[in-house]
């Protein structure tokens, strides 16, 4: 009886140690370098950020609605790596997770992955 308990306990310890072992399960690097609140709850963003972006994309393109809340440029401004200055790259906020999930990222065929200066556009 005692031996069984010890065996079970040993097994549990081993399992726990195993799970905590780094590098065995590949995980995306989700580095939030600028602490603060995202525009929506984390859970919603993880699951539905593409829906929000697509909705905003159509509103901006066809109706000229340029609110900042769900704008891709605002995402980039906040989530671009401090060192790399981009959301792409091995540990980039977008790319690391998309690689992990094996979901193709084609935003960056056209969009600029680095936050940049806005153009002035003086009043007429």
């Amino acid at each position: 009886m005692k031996a069984i308990v010890i065996a079970v306990l040993w097994g549990l310890t081993f399992a726990a140690a195993h799970a905590a072992e780094p590098g065995r399960t590949p995980l995306p690097a989700i580095a939030i370098e600028k602490p603060g609140q995202c525009v929506e709850p984390k859970e919603l963003m993880r699951r539905d950020h593409m829906k929000l972006l697509q909705h905003q994309r159509d509103k901006t393109m066809h109706q000229g609605i340029r609110t900042k809340k769900h704008s891709l440029n605002e995402c980039i401004a906040c989530h671009a790596g401090q060192k790399t200055g981009t959301v792409l790259g091995k540990d980039g906020f977008c790319q690391s997770c998309h690689e992990y999930a094996a979901v193709k990222l084609d935003c960056w065929d056209c969009h600029q992955p680095k936050p940049g200066q806005k153009t002035a556009g003086a009043k007429p």
Binding site: R66, T67, C110, A120, A122, K123
Partner: protein, 244 residues
């Protein structure tokens, strides 16, 4: 149909008259929006347009073309034969008299755009405020619109790009053309070419709301004879020329 048309005309005229009513200097009964709030969609109350005075446009000056390229990130690839061209300068000369003039040619932002008619996916579209755009998310790069355009002002992007202006996303495989700097206009600004022309002191380009009777462009069009290029096509252009 004619009844419908005249009714529309009446509504348009009465709205314009109402919009023109002023309660006090500078305060209008109906405000004619130029800079709309970010969260409001564009409306057909505004029709953006441009008037180009060819007598002021200097031959050899390409400031508008340069400004357009800088603003929209064109010319990254440096392959002149295939680089996208949103605006180009044209020099015209009547051989008999020797009368020469120079003018910029870009998307004419038609009210009835042939590019929109032929687009098989709905990528080519006209915004409510009259700006004709390509939605690159939908464009499949078939180039029908380039063939349909009477002004040959659209370009196909042949090469991958990495140096875009964050506000002007563009990339390989889509057709594109002058957007009237829609990202600036939505903030109440003017297109980059117009700004550059004014900065060079030529002031040959005038941008504004054709629907607003008080706007400088509407007043000018009322006063002087302006021409729509290929007016015979009856496309009701947003860009007009003076002196051609």
């Amino acid at each position: 149909m004619s009844e419908n048309k005249s009714r529309r005309g009446f509504i348009a005229a009465s709205t314009a008259a109402l919009a023109g009513l002023t309660l006090a200097p500078g305060i209008r009964l109906v405000e004619i929006a130029s800079a709309k709030p970010d969260n409001e969609p564009v409306t057909s109350k505004v029709r953006w347009g441009m008037l180009i005075d060819t007598s002021r446009c200097q031959s050899g000056c390409t400031d508008c073309v340069t400004a357009c390229g800088k603003e929209n990130g064109l010319g990254e690839v440096k392959k002149p034969r295939t680089d996208a061209q949103w605006i180009r300068k044209i020099d015209l000369k009547e051989l008999k008299s020797g009368h020469a003039l120079s003018l910029p040619m870009m998307c004419q932002h038609c009210a009835h755009p042939p590019c929109v008619d032929v687009c098989p996916t709905g990528a080519s579209f006209k915004r409510a405020d009259g700006i004709v755009l390509v939605d690159r998310h939908i464009c499949i790069g078939c180039r029908y619109c380039m063939m349909a355009c009477p002004y040959k002002v659209r370009s196909f992007v042949h090469e991958p790009h990495t140096d875009q202006n964050p506000e002007v996303p563009r990339g390989q495989g889509c057709v594109e053309g002058c957007t009237l700097c829609v990202h600036r206009v939505d903030r109440g600004g003017t297109p980059a070419c117009v700004e550059a022309c004014a900065a060079a002191g030529h002031n040959a380009m005038l941008f504004g709301d054709l629907n607003d009777p008080e706007s400088a462009i509407a007043k000018r069009i009322r006063e002087v004879k302006t021409t729509q290029v290929r007016a015979d096509l009856k496309l009701d252009l947003g860009v007009r020329y003076e002196g051609i």
